[in-house]
Subunit: 876 residues, 2 copies
């Protein structure tokens, strides 16, 4: 018989698959002898069972839960529903991966009229118990029954207004008693049945509700964003309640063993005296910094600090802990590896290596490659920032620079962002409903809440710039207006800039500058380079991008898309002339005019990349992409080319294609217009010779796109070789160059042994290869892929993460076939998968020599390659 | 050292690769002791050498040719350039495959002033020799030097006008002497050098010219049309001249050992007295039927008849022979397996089996599957034909029915045909330049020329209806008008109908009727069925097509495209309503309205196909294909659906795709709109139950298109199974049905083991699979594929003949993977390759169970499958 329920003392930290992260850590702490309120964990298998069982708790599980309640009663000496000595519990979710705030929680479970009555021996107790009871009723109605909180809240607001009270704190014990009874009536009105007084029933219902919350919309969205599988399910933790709101010698807080924003090795966190945990997290009251606790409760502070250090040493990672002080006694409610900003992650990892706590390999495995993104994105220009006057300051909750238009509402913001606007989410405080909006925003700004508020935690996890608790701003929620201390009024659409590293808010959009890899970040990346063997190149075709790529550690240019060089004004004119030419002679003449530009570009790129290699891809897109689209542009072109509008329109019609992705492009263009390949070869070889003559060493790699048959490549390689030979003879200088091909059509992979006869390298264009293998047009597939994710037909986007079982099989086939003909063939990746960590791990495994990605993803790829090498070593 | 030149006696019929067809047969006949004018063959390897050698004859080859000339001089006792006893030769092409009239020929080679002078001892000889000499000069100028014949022809016309002569025959020996001298002057004017008098030089130049003619446009076009590889090259035959125009006891002719039009076992052919071979072939004079030769030259006739029978027995095939009678002596100039109409091919094959000459297998290998096409196309309705009065009658040169508009010019005709017109090519006589036009025409009609004229031979080869020598019509070539005997005037664009089986021409377009498989054709097809093991199904979705398919021997329907059923007026309305629906409810309602139609269709199809299987493919094309295109149609739809034009246009815009081929179609539609799959399943199961209840046995096969992932198929199969279960329960009847998938995406092949878990059959959609594997959009690829063929990058169209080395590898992979999971999985082909002979041979080899093709290709596929089985057996 499967065991579905574990007492905390029965588990340990390695059981997170079964017990969830929270449950496993509660078990571990219990066994470490830490002061943990006792309880038990209902396993993730029980959750799976619940879903298989048509969203019902099986009798087997229900019985086991109730049996465990009896054990807990024995352990605590308290009893469910006992008026004298009642057992009150919290019921919380806890999945394998942390999903903070995404699922539901029920607190104060076990309360009923008997218990409350019996507890009301004085004003203070009565006030406390009925405040808790009314909270429980509302929470149960909302979370377990799915009734809206609105009626309860509206009633409470009205009650306060009627009794001329503003804050909850002003209400008396009797007020809460009345309110509790009225809440029960409201519950009855909605539910058409009494609020359940039996704690067993309360508990079983709550457990089901937590299981159900695994599939609420925000949890699903969070999982999708964080690649968490839908079939893991959540565990449920049932734990004795402790109360931080019992008296003035009570309190509750959240703390990190190191600073999650900067990585500094200092106890970092916040607490509230006489409050419940939800008050801290929800950001309703702005809490105190943890350091001040030392003065108020020195013993508790010392005890907690020691526990924090012990937990960090035990888990060998920075810990994020929740604690409660109930009547002068410290309880640890939760510990977990703390979420942190990318720079904190790096500092902590580097420090811990220096402290001898972890190895370099551990350090590299600690930082997710994706996290580096936020370190690489531009920051505000420091000189500008120094001169600029800020308009408000809050807590520097998550570093980074964010500029955009203010939105007060996540839905509005998402729409604006989708239409291309840069946006800032401005909220009194954020709640889990805002998570999708936060993801779309450039930055998040809240008026209330501390460094551990929802907004702060989620933004740090996303690597999104965030300023919290910005009380310099006054918000009028109804009018959707905020006012600064100086009286500046900001409304929907006003432009502001957030500096997440200082907490300062600026008016308008500030200019940005490149970020730098230095200090701990550099140390960390150097370790990655020591360990990895997969090389990393960049996709770039402007000198600026090539320089950025080199700055970020690229070992060459893996994809220089020559067509991007045709778009500036004087070039596009001649390129259009080429397209509109009626004869080979006219075409050649137009191309001759482009040659000097292309030559100059290549020289600059070679100089910026040398001595690293540069892979130059010849013209790829269909010609119609270069022709004007509007009538006006067409007229203008006709005038400047001295031909008729009719002729241009005729050519546009001729070039129109049903399925341009599978049309006249890539090597097909070079075959029909060999003079393009001739011009491009002349430019590559001449510029390489000029570069070499300056004493800079370079071996250009010429790459032919969209090859599907060896004869295509042979035909073009012949043109390239003939032109190169002639160019070298004309310039009286022999140089080395390589000719290779993209493998981006299924047929190219299938025929790789034949194609390899003419190719010195293969570069896998995984974007097109994915399109053709799936038969998905990237431009059109989003229409139905949403349904695919919803219906769990696909678990990941094949355009983001390489499809190992399909597309990957073609790549592996091409590698084997290619190597069978030319064992030294150079193998690269130049699709977007080249910058994605999971895909890089795969490419490392199958023997790719290098990946090429956008300059900003180069460090991501370097780290991912190092992690792949470590994982590979661990598996061998 | 390679031997490049073979005396006829050195070769044999099995050397056609080296000596070409004509050379090998001349060798064979020489060794059989037949009266063949002697000579030698320059090999196809010499031709390849010529092209490799920059279109020059290597000294080695030239020397070998001249050495062979000396041997020929010894053998004949004649000498090149000898005034007394000159050796005159013909120089003719002869490739491995017959390419009649496509390449160049030079006759009378060896003539010069000395020879001509010496031969002019009487008026008759002088007339003959100068007539030959002037022909030689013009031919040499035209063929060898590439000068236009026009100047020569214009001069001759002027000469006749000046001398008041109308026909060549009226010119005297002195006239020809003058003309010859003037021809030499014209030659000098163009060439700036004298006409070469040295026969050695004449010969070497002529040999080069023949080699060069391998690559003239019409030869290239012919090869492409007939799948003849470009790299074979041609051999050259140098043969002593014999003259059928020497005296009245001379003549020349062409004959077949059996009737090439009907297949009757009778000597069949034509001859002209006192004429050269070219006069017969060119159709300038209308020749006499061969049977009349028996009266004029009984001995020659008997001798020839015997030779014909001997050759047929020797080659075990019907022979096409050229002969010349020079001063009472018979020479055989050529024999080859005769081209014949499809019905003749079948009759001859069946007769020869009955005569014990060949086996059934031989018979099946004798008829090219492609040839059957012409037998299957409709013929004129016999009742109508009986009542209709014909307007002219000519020779029934090639059977079949053809109706269309008259064109006098191949180029005009091609343009008209490309724009969708049905056309008839009407010419005085055709020449090789007309071949492309003949291919586009529905039928060919010539005023002059016999059963073996160019038009007749080529039309029979193409299986195209043709009437020759229709002297009932008078043509005015300049005005482009023909007049019948009754004075009816036909001009460009007039509609006529040709009955190629009777030679009768009708005015207007006559109605057609289905052809029948009966008599010899049926015997032949029965033999094919005995031998083949690959099954043949048809693609059909109308009752008419299903019936035709069954008539033609289909063993089921392999592809019933349900979307074709949505296009009739009342259906498209509801289908559009479905597309424009905003909710699932509206969509379901619109689909409910279509259900009864679809149900009725399926019932009729099941009834027509039973007990054969029917594979029903669910909705495949993108929805936008069903929406109206013009503003008017949109307006109409808006009115009838009572929605706004704006809403319809909005939906049209939403459905627009960048690459529809890779967009929202196939199973992707069924996933986003599961109610379509539900409706279609309900229709299939209900109609199958209704059919079975009538006592007709049927197992419907439900096919899901465009699957690329097992989860897609699993998801839809679940919908199908649930709906089927419910439908069967509602109707209280359990039936068997199959669910399978198309394999038409590369990924489907790569993931076939997973997909096979949910599929009872795979049907390879080779059209889409070819598109995706190559990354070729069929709609767009023609733009560049022309260049691919010209540049010899591709030798065949991958959309016509399956690409065995690329696409085929995916198919083979899918078969292996599919069988590893389900060894009984049913394997079919439903792309257009399923009806193409070469592809069928391949499918047979790799273990496909059935091919499915259009009804008219079913017999083609049956024959191809039989041939594949025979070839397979021969190879084992």
């Amino acid at each position: 018989m499967t065991k579905y329920v574990y007492f905390f003392k029965e588990g340990n930290k390695d059981m997170r698959e079964l017990l969830g992260g929270k449950g496993a850590n509660l078990a571990e702490m219990t066994n470490l002898g830490l002061p943990v309120p006792q309880g038990f964990t209902i396993t993730t298998e029980a959750c799976q069972n619940y879903y298989l069982n048509n969203q019902e708790l099986s009798k087997e599980i229900a019985d086991e839960v109730l049996a465990k309640v009896m054990e807990l009663e024995k352990l605590t000496g308290k009893k469910f529903g006992d008026a004298k000595n009642p057992l009150l519990v919290s019921v919380r979710s806890g999945s394998r991966a942390s999903m903070p705030g995404m699922m539901d929680t029920v607190l104060n479970l076990g309360l009923n009229d008997d218990v409350a009555n019996n507890y009301s021996n004085n004003e203070e107790s009565k006030r406390f118990i009925y405040d808790s009871y009314r909270r429980f009723i509302m929470m149960f109605a909302d979370v377990v029954k799915g009734y809206s909180k609105e009626k309860f809240e509206r009633y409470l607001d009205q009650y306060k207004k009627d009794h001329n009270k503003e804050y909850d704190i002003e209400l008396s014990a009797d007020d809460w008693f009345t309110i509790t009874n009225d809440f029960k009536k409201i519950y009855y009105d909605i539910a058409k049945e009494d609020f359940p007084s039996n704690p067993q029933i309360q508990l079983l219902e709550a457990v089901k509700a937590v299981f159900k919350s695994w599939n609420n919309d925000r949890a699903k969205y969070y999982r999708k964003m964080n690649d968490i599988p839908d079939d893991w399910g959540t565990a449920v933790n049932v734990q004795e309640m402790v109360y931080g709101n019992l008296k003035e010698n009570s309190g509750t807080g959240v703390a990190f063993s190191r600073n999650p924003s900067t990585g500094e090795n200092e106890l970092y966190g916040e607490y509230l005296i006489n409050a419940q945990g939800e008050d801290v997290v929800a950001g309703v009251r702005t809490p105190e910094a943890i350091a001040t606790l030392e003065k108020i409760m020195p013993d508790i502070y010392t005890e907690f600090k020691q526990i924090a250090k012990n937990l960090e040493n035990h888990y060998k990672d920075m810990q994020d802990m929740e604690f409660t002080i109930e009547a002068g006694k410290l309880y640890i409610l939760q510990t977990r590896n703390g979420k942190r900003t990318a720079s904190a992650a790096i500092k902590i990892a580097v420090d811990m290596v220096k402290e001898g706590l972890i190895s370099k390999e551990d350090a590299l495995l600690r930082v997710m490659p994706k996290q580096l993104d936020s370190l690489l994105h531009p920051t505000f220009n420091k000189d500008v920032l120094a001169k600029e006057k800020w308009i408000a300051q809050g807590l520097a909750a998550s570093p980074g620079a964010g500029s955009g238009k203010i939105y007060f509402d996540a839905e509005d913001l998402i729409n604006a962002s989708k239409s291309g606007e840069k946006t800032i989410l401005l909220r009194l405080e954020t709640s889990p409903e805002d998570i999708e909006g936060m993801n779309y925003a450039e930055g998040v700004l809240t008026i209330r809440g501390g460094m551990t508020s929802h907004a702060a935690v989620v933004a740090r996890g996303m690597g999104k710039c965030c300023i919290c608790g910005c009380s310099d701003l006054t918000i009028d929620v109804n009018k959707k207006i905020v006012t600064t201390k100086d009286g500046l009024v900001l409304k929907k659409g006003s432009e502001i800039s957030l500096d997440g590293s200082t907490g300062k808010v600026y008016a308008g959009i500030l200019p940005l500058e490149e970020s730098q890899i230095s200090g701990d970040f550099k140390t960390f990346m150097d370790w990655a380079d020591e360990i990895r063997h997969l090389h990393v190149r960049a996709n770039a075709e402007t000198v600026k991008d090539v320089k950025t790529a080199m700055l970020f550690g690229a070992e060459g240019i893996g994809l220089c898309r020559t067509e991007h060089m045709f778009f500036s004004e004087e070039r596009i004119f001649n390129f259009r002339k080429m397209i509109l030419a009626n004869t080979k002679e006219e075409r050649t003449k137009a191309l001759d005019a482009i040659l000097p530009y292309q030559l100059q570009d290549f020289e600059q790129i070679f100089a910026s990349a040398a001595p690293n290699p540069v892979v130059i891809r010849y013209l790829d897109p269909p010609l119609h992409e270069f022709l004007p689209k509007t009538d006006e542009e067409i007229k203008e072109l006709a005038t400047s080319l001295n031909i008729s509008v009719t002729d241009i329109n005729k050519r546009i019609m001729e070039l129109k294609e049903m399925n341009p992705m599978m049309g006249h492009r890539g090597c097909r263009l070079l075959i029909t217009y060999p003079e393009i390949a001739q011009m491009q070869t002349k430019a590559v070889i001449t510029s390489a010779i000029n570069t070499i003559k300056k004493g800079i060493n370079i071996i250009p790699e010429i790459m032919i796109p969209l090859v599907g048959d060896e004869n295509e490549l042979a035909y073009i390689k012949n043109i390239v070789d003939e032109t190169a030979k002639k160019t070298m003879k004309d310039l009286d200088c022999n140089i080395k160059y390589m000719v290779g091909t993209m493998i981006e059509l299924p047929r190219a992979a299938l025929k790789a042994s034949e194609i390899a006869k003419y190719a010195e390298f293969f570069s896998f264009g995984t974007n097109d290869l994915t399109q053709m293998t799936y038969g998905f047009s990237r431009d059109d597939a989003s229409k139905f892929l949403t349904t695919y994710y919803d219906q769990k037909i696909f678990s990941q986007d094949p355009f983001t993460t390489i499809d190992e079982t399909g597309v990957g099989k073609l790549i592996e086939m091409a590698i084997t076939k290619g190597k069978s003909v030319n064992k030294n063939i150079e193998l690269g990746i130049c699709g977007e998968h080249g910058g994605e960590a999971k895909s890089i791990e795969y490419f490392n495994k199958i023997g790719i020599d290098y990946v090429s990605c956008s300059p900003y993803r180069v460090p991501v790829a370097r780290l991912a390659a190092a992690r792949a090498a470590i994982i590979e070593k661990m598996n061998n």
